[in-house]
Symmetry: C2
Subunit: 312 residues, 2 copies
């Protein structure tokens, strides 16, 4: 058995991420058996029908029995309660992980429940779509995406290495940092952009002077990318904001401050300032393309042939 | 000759939009001849090499001679000056149009220079990519995108209809509204989203606590869509903000107000408010998909096969 192989992987939560982990684990041949549990009977029924788990069981405690890898894939706000439910049934030596978009809060919720004889290695795969539920998962979701592990200071390096190899087998690139730093980085790259997108879509919806059909019809001019972001799962995002409150408020404050500076430049007609500002932000885009996190294809406002086919 | 056919189309400005109009006009067979002019000698040389115009000339006045359709495709801030240069050479009965993202200001700049014997029909094709320059144009840019015409109250309906048919021949869907309403609609769907995206990318760039490489590496979590928007042409966008100042400041003010409400819900931990808010914004996304302005394909954070091929 290589370090990336597990005998039995237990997935607690079978939404977009849980089901995608199952598909990707099968594709990689990274486990002998995948056992799944979801709180909702409907999700369990859908999961059984789709067949991405070898077995879908009726309780989280049953799911983790004899598992050497347990991944909690529930919204951040539900991690503590579910960990309390599985704690007594965990196998000695098991690796327990999660997929939460916030790490300090998840650690604070999960760690107190876990017995000393398991290895807790929090992780966050930076992958998703604006769809949710067990039918939205697919094996390629993590391909070339990053998975950030935030092991605690006293973590067993061997367990961390095994989990890293597992995520790499699922197609991801991996990195390690502290939970606190993770939460700040994600506030900048994900949480605050989502808060802003949600807010702008809310503003458009509220305006009485521009009709809904105009907003929708002319969305391709920039707004459309905001609506895509703002269509993400409401429960997941509520929990993200409530659980990464400090870092989000910190960056939101910084954003509001900067927005007022840009706003003043518009008001005073300071064209040089705006031109310099927009030139600087363009360079960041080039860095992202060079880092392989996007392509230079002229995507903005376009519908791809591949998408057309899939949307049909 | 059908209403969509012109004898000679003059394009003043040969960047992304001008060159795409040329390619789309050729594809549609919508003109016998396309004559182009660009201020920069380098752009003229590139345009000659790429061959999308039948003729690239050395002055804007020369370009418009004998043209029955003249389209000014320069940044909004340069429309007035270029119109002054062509005014004396326009053919009687010619339709003069533009492609500016702001309409009241463009009308104020262009109309005073135009002789009474031409038909001025301002227009705005809502299409673009984050790339600029004559080599970034392509014939499909306007396919299924909207082109909004903002004819003045005393405009000749026949000229407006001809221009509308022309844009439809180029692949666009067309609509008509007043210039004032256009500028408000675009402030909501395009200008303010761009201002916000530029600002958020600026914030990320300024932060000392999160490294540039972290921002770039983890951009796929949401920030990436902002950088795509914020990579648009700095000159074009400077001019948009300076020329649609009133509507942009109006909507920006509304956005800042709303952001503070969302921020307070995060600070006070009002999960119900956030969940309701995020559920409401999701519905707008569905409207956009139904209106055919995007697809439901799980795009977020993914690189499409089609893009991979084009980026190679």
């Amino acid at each position: 058995m290589s370090g990336t192989h597990f005998r039995r992987v237990a997935l607690i939560g079978l939404g977009l991420i849980g089901s995608s982990i199952a598909w990707a684990t099968r594709r990689a041949g990274a486990a002998d058996e995948i056992v799944g549990y979801a709180r909702s009977a409907q999700t369990r029924a859908t999961a059984r029908k789709l067949g991405f788990c070898h077995k879908v069981v009726e309780s989280p405690a049953e799911a983790v029995e004899d598992a050497d890898l347990v991944i909690v894939c529930v919204p951040v706000g539900a991690c503590g309660a579910v960990t309390a439910e599985i704690a007594g049934s965990l196998a000695a030596g098991a690796i327990v992980s999660d997929v939460g978009s916030v790490k300090t809060s998840v650690i604070a919720q999960m760690a107190p429940h876990l017995p000393a004889n398991v290895h807790f290695v929090p992780a966050h795969p930076l992958a998703g779509t604006e769809h949710s539920g067990p039918e939205s998962g697919f094996a390629e979701l993590f391909d070339s995406r990053w998975c950030i592990l935030t092991p605690l200071p006293d973590a067993d390096p061997h367990a961390t290495r095994r989990l890293r190899s597992y995520w790499e087998a699922l197609g991801a690139r991996t990195d390690e940092m502290t939970a606190e730093h993770h939460d700040l980085v994600l506030a900048v790259t994900s949480h605050v952009p989502h808060a802003i997108a949600y807010t702008m879509v809310g503003v458009a919806d509220d305006l009485q002077r521009v009709t809904d059909s105009e907003v929708i019809r002319y969305s391709a001019a920039g707004f459309r990318d905001f609506t895509r972001i703002a269509a993400s799962d409401p429960t997941m995002w509520r929990d993200v904001f409530l659980n990464n409150r400090e870092a989000v408020l910190d960056i939101l404050g910084r954003f509001a401050e900067e927005l007022f500076v840009v706003q003043r430049a518009i008001r005073t007609g300071d064209g040089d300032y705006l031109h310099d500002y927009f030139t600087r932000t363009r360079a960041i885009r080039r860095g992202i393309i060079e880092a392989g996190q996007d392509t230079a294809a002229p995507d903005f406002g376009r519908i791809h042939k591949a998408e057309k086919g899939r949307a049909g």
